[in-house]
């Protein structure tokens, strides 16, 4: 899986690249318009992370270029500008997703994986890790070939964790992803703890071979047993 990151902020570029390499992707980087344009023309990528504001040009122009060659559907726009026009224009040009800075690594991971899944979608839309199968279309969870009843939020949480296997998912990232990004109440964290507790219990009862570990009280990590 080859991913291109187009981002002019070197520090951010490095962190994103570092994180994606952990997922064993091949990561390439371009930090200005011309470099990006050249790379896009020459190579094919499974996913492109595209910043809109670039030195020497606009990310949306790159997107147009991609659209012309029919390759714009695996683009995730990452922008500091949470502007509706840019978003609409970007999605109109075929971008798959729009992520506003700052974002959590776990969120970026989940979005990248979602893009890759859609690209490789061959009829079935499931995630499988160990003996856990999550059917995203039917929204059901199957462990050891048996259905495990999960409520809506528990399903979303598990889904998020499966996209971020072995990776840290902070409580804030989880809260934002599952309950929307206007959450700013800290007593939410008790609630997240409570939800995780329930999910853990259900997974344990079903003898799932995955486990949600706490990480320093900051977040959680899903690992295979």
């Amino acid at each position: 899986m080859k991913i291109l990151i187009v981002e002019d902020e070197k520090d951010l570029l490095k962190t994103i690249a570092g994180s994606l390499e952990k997922e064993h992707f091949v990561v390439e980087a371009a930090s200005d318009f011309y470099a990006a344009s050249e790379k896009i023309n020459v190579y094919d990528y499974d996913c492109i992370l595209l910043d809109i504001m670039l030195p020497n040009g606009n990310g949306l122009q790159l997107l147009e270029q991609l659209k012309k060659s029919g390759k714009s559907n695996n683009v995730i726009i990452i922008s500091a500008k949470d502007s509706l026009e840019d978003k609409l224009r970007g999605l109109e040009l075929g971008a798959d997703d729009y992520l506003t800075k700052p974002f959590h690594i776990a969120e970026l991971n989940a979005r990248v994986k979602a893009v890759l899944r859609r690209k490789k979608l061959d009829g079935k839309n499931t995630i499988e890790i160990a003996n856990v199968v999550l059917d995203l279309t039917e929204r059901i969870c199957i462990v050891n070939n048996e259905k495990v009843p999960l409520n809506r939020k528990e399903f979303d949480i598990l889904n998020y964790f499966l996209f971020n296997k072995n990776r840290l998912v902070t409580k804030t990232a989880l809260a934002e992803h599952v309950w929307g990004d206007h959450i700013d109440q800290s007593d939410n964290f008790d609630f997240i703890y409570y939800q995780i507790k329930n999910l853990r219990r259900k997974l344990q009862t079903a003898k799932a071979e995955v486990e949600i570990e706490a990480v320093y009280g900051i977040g959680y990590k899903l690992v295979e047993k």
């Binding site: 951010l12 570092g18 994180s19 952990k22 500091a80 949470d82 700052p102 206007h182 109440q185 320093y216």
Partner: protein, 426 residues
């Protein structure tokens, strides 16, 4: 007091004194003139009588006023020398055409002396005078009449002229009242060539222009500052996340990092809220459509279901009508979600949240601390009723900004131990 009435008051009071003074002066002048002319007449009579007496001495026998207007009596030469022509006002019984019995009437009396054939006579001639109280009464009536006619004229002219003159001013005032810095496009203008008003317009417009510039700069600054903060915040968040992920940290170090992360999270939320606020105020939401508030409420209630259940807060929705509004769907969502979240989070254990949707209003009430929150401050930036929350203090400010944008009246009140927010749509 309106300008019109005030000017009317000044005019009527000053007119009252001017006319009053004038009528007194007029009265005395008039009286003098009358006396002068009566005296002239008396003098004329006197000469006629003296002339008559030379021809016909019978009239010299007339010693009283009966049937005439003069008396003649013989006097000594020395007495005659002592007498000079004097005119006096006196009273005399007389019967006018309108009197039934003789009455005391004012008369003018001329006393003089003359010589006829070596004899000296004293002559008294009278002429009836105008009755002074009649004159005063008449004059008073006329003056009052004049005063009221003038007053009426002044009122009419004042009303007409002033209203006409001040019309541009009032229309300017209305425009100014409706003017909102940042949202009104057109400057207020006066439709007149009157110099004072055009000067006023220029002064006001210069003031407004400066205000707008400051407002724009401020807005732009907040927008730019928040915007520029996004990337560094992103880098900080992500680097710390990777650092934690790397593991091999001691729990105390991890705790410190967690603390820093929490602070950064807070910064991020603050920043996002400020950006959102700037965007709302800049009217950068263009996706207006007919949205169903009922649907948005239901959606948000279902999103909050689990949290509410966890907090043991019961949410009930009562819909008596379908409510739709023309607005940006994401902003409508933010308004409802911010209010609902507040209602759930600032609640008590075993508390309730009720949402009532009627034809024109959405009302969200909740149990909570048993005291009203300052309703003047509740919508202002960074105001927090209780200090121990990690909120940004911008949630309700955002609600207010969105409501202002779409002309929705939002108010807070505390009643029957319930904190209520009411949105009234137009």
């Amino acid at each position: 007091m309106k300008l019109l009435n005030r000017s009317l008051l000044y005019l009527s009071v000053s007119m009252f004194f001017i006319i009053g003074l004038w009528s007194v002066v007029f009265y005395f002048n008039m009286l003098n003139k009358i006396k002068e002319s009566v005296d002239e007449g008396l003098d004329h009579y006197k000469r006629q009588i003296v002339y008559q007496a030379q021809k016909d001495s019978i009239i010299l026998e007339k010693s009283n006023f009966e049937g005439g207007f003069f008396t003649i009596g013989e006097i000594t030469a020395s007495e005659a020398i002592a007498i000079k022509d004097i005119y006096i006002d006196t009273l005399m019984y007389m019967q006018d055409a309108d009197d039934e019995i003789p009455e005391l009437e004012p008369v003018r009396l001329l006393t003089t002396a003359f010589e006829n054939n070596g004899h000296y006579y004293k002559l008294s001639v009278i002429n009836s005078m105008v009755e002074e109280d009649d004159l005063i009464e008449e004059l008073l009536r006329e003056t009052l009449g004049l005063y009221f006619v003038l007053l009426a004229a002044v009122i009419i002219i004042n009303n007409f002229v002033l209203q006409r003159l001040w019309k541009p001013f009032y229309s300017f005032l209305i425009q100014l009242k409706n003017y909102r810095v940042g949202s009104s496009r057109k400057f207020p203008e006066v439709k007149t060539k009157t110099k004072e008003f055009t000067d006023l317009q220029n002064a006001v417009n210069i003031l407004l222009q400066r205000n707008i510039e400051t407002y724009e700069q401020q807005k732009q600054f907040i927008g730019n500052a928040s915007h520029e903060l996004q990337t560094p915040l992103a880098i900080a968040t992500n680097k710390l996340e990777l650092l934690i992920e790397k593991g091999d940290l001691q729990s105390r170090q991890a705790e410190s990092i967690a603390e820093v992360m929490r602070i950064i999270e807070r910064l991020v939320r603050l920043n996002r809220s400020l950006l959102l606020l700037t965007k709302i105020e800049n009217k950068q939401f263009l996706d207006e459509q007919i949205v169903s508030l009922n649907e948005i409420v239901r959606q948000n209630v279902s999103d909050l279901e689990e949290i509410a259940e966890f907090k043991n807060v019961k949410i009930t929705v009562a819909e008596t009508a379908g409510l739709t509004a023309q607005m940006d769907v994401s902003l409508a969502g933010i308004v409802i979600s911010n209010l609902l979240r507040n209602a759930v989070f600032h609640n008590i254990y075993n508390g309730i949240v009720t949402v009532e949707i009627s034809e024109k209003t959405v009302k969200i009430s909740n149990t909570g601390i048993k005291a009203p929150i300052n309703e003047q401050k509740i919508f202002s930036r960074f105001y927090k009723a209780d200090d121990n929350t990690s909120g940004t203090g911008l949630g309700l400010t955002i609600v207010k900004a969105i409501c202002d944008l779409y002309n929705i009246a939002v108010r807070y009140y505390y009643e029957n131990d319930l904190h209520s927010f009411e949105l009234r749509f137009r």
